[in-house]
Amino acid sequence: MDIDTSSFTDTPRYSAIKSLLRALVANKKALLGAVMLLLLVVIGVLAPVLAPFDPNQTGVGPLLSKPTMAHLMGTDTYGRDTFSRLLFGARISLLVAFSVAIGSTAIGVFAGLITGYVGGVADYLLMRLVDVLFAFPWVLMTLSVATILGPGLETVIISLIIVYSPALARLARSSALSVREMQYVEAARAVGLGDFSIIVKHILPNCASPIVIQCTAIMGYSILAEAGISYLGLGTQPPTPSWGLSLSDGTDYMGIVPQLVVFPGLAIVYAVLSFNLLGDGLRDILDPRRRH
């Protein structure tokens, strides 16, 4: 029996995705940001193929050499190929960006939605906790966590999740507060829909757009933060090829081989700029005030 599948592609969800993609392509900032990000992801995924050398292998070239055909960005103080380390560094940055975005969204949005919907003491306590966490600049929080857990990539990710969850919690909470009193929510309760279903089906979609926009910003900030903490020696540990760590290693020799500080920095700027462009473009597309 032939099944008519034409209606499958006309569902509201599919149409919404199509129109979002069309809007993404039409918005120059979003398109540029998406292309830049895609390129970064491809580089990260294909790093083992693209890199001419093992990023941790020492002595593949002369120590602190300038760029040559064999070593496009020169070598560092251990004779490691800088270009290879830069390519593999993309993996670390993307890992941090996506881990922090996913972790802070899961915790922050969940907490904000539940407490905003339930209200009362739970809501009050969450907001006081958010106020306390907001009183800690991100570096302080990361350094505090590093003091407790010791330095490392996991420490950076955990501390950044703690730093960025409050902003998402506030966003989700304000959405829950505005939607929970709506008549259609009351109607949903009247027909027997459970609180969890109401939160997932009615409240969460209302805050999806600002959450997506906030997540792209968080991803960009996370890359900056990881680079900064690794530069201080409290983030990614050697010999992992983090861009921040490469900057730290190269600072002492920048007078002789400036490319050791120039290229990792440019890589960080590129990555963060791609997220900023994408976030800006998404804000133009998804923010109803900007649309009108």
Binding site: R128, V139, L140, L143, I148
Partner: protein, 314 residues
């Protein structure tokens, strides 16, 4: 206005309490016995007993917190494990140095951001606007510590017009004092400038589309006056909010900048104490940073009432 201020002050109390609890818990969250954490390798039973007695470390956690808070209120932040000196004077000596860096960075950021934001809004949808927007996005994407390294490379290492590292107190010579601050403050303020300019442009565009601006223009008010007297004045309140939040980011950024330049402020003290596992210094420094950030937020609340009379009377 007094009621507004009182409300703001009362609102800070639960946050202060939460911050003090978190900072107090830092030592207790570290794996191991808090006494050995505080004293390092010292194992003399007399010293251990004395520390336990003084800080009540053999009592329940709540009692320990009360003892610690009592010490903090009397400005006793304990003694450094590294050098045995009291922590509070070490921090107090460095507070002005970090403040110079923060204020210098924010001042430079505002000096760049305000004209850029106004220009971009006034020349909306032109090449000037596009260029300013692109510049702001790039500035926001630059890590301040990397920008600091690049400026150091060019200005201090290559051209040698400014010093690379260090600090000179103002009483030793204003010229040297400012010369040592230029590169760190420029590096610190650059990404803030991008953020603030972007926001100012956005709020000014919103304000410029309001009816009262149309009326002002229709009445023949000069464009410059409309821009500065009407649009800018009404756009400044949200920018003040962001500036307050950004000072928090600057606080964080200054820690890394101080490390880059070997600048002897609170940030460098914090980093060296973490490396040395000097927990009383870590606790004391983080506490001062958090209190400072809270104070900035309170001052911002006060500034609102001056900038927007509607808040005063609401």
């Amino acid at each position: 206005m007094q009621r507004y201020l009182l409300r703001s002050l009362l609102g800070v109390i639960p946050t202060l309490f939460g911050i003090s609890v978190l900072i107090f818990l830092i030592i207790h969250l570290i794996p191991g016995d808090p006494v050995s954490v505080m004293l390092g390798r010292v194992s003399d039973p007399t010293v251990v007993a004395a520390v336990k007695g003084e800080y009540g470390l053999d009592k329940p956690l709540v009692a320990q917190y009360a003892t610690w808070l009592g010490h903090v209120v009397h400005l006793d932040l304990g003694y450094s494990i590294s050098n045995g000196e009291p922590v509070a004077p070490q921090i107090a000596e460095r507070i002005p140095r970090t403040l110079y860096l923060l204020l210098g960075g924010m001042l430079l950021a505002l000096l760049v951001a305000v004209p850029t934001g106004i220009l971009a809004a006034a020349k909306h949808n032109t090449w000037v606007d596009l260029g300013a927007t692109a510049l702001n996005l790039v500035l926001m994407s630059i890590p301040s510590f990397w920008f600091a390294i690049i400026l150091m490379l060019i200005l201090a290492v290559h051209y040698q017009v400014l010093p690379a590292t260090g600090y000179v107190p103002p009483e030793a010579g204003l010229s040297d004092f400012f010369r040592h601050l230029v590169i760190p403050c420029v590096a610190l303020g650059a990404s803030e400038a991008g953020m603030i300019a972007r926001l100012l442009r956005s709020t000014m565009l919103e304000t410029l589309s309001q009816n009262f601006i149309v009326v002002a223009r229709a009445k023949g008010v000069p464009k410059r006056r409309v821009l500065y007297r009407h649009a800018l004045r009404n756009s400044v309140v949200p920018v003040v909010t962001v500036v307050a939040v950004e000072i928090g980011y600057l606080l964080g950024g200054s820690i890394i900048i101080e490390q880059v330049f070997g600048y002897p402020g609170m940030g460098l003290l914090l980093i060296t104490s973490i490396t040395a596992r000097d927990y009383p210094v870590i606790q004391g420094t983080i506490l001062v940073y958090a209190l400072f950030f809270l104070a900035i937020n309170l001052l911002t609340d006060l500034l609102y009432t001056i900038l927007d009379p509607r808040i005063r009377y609401s």
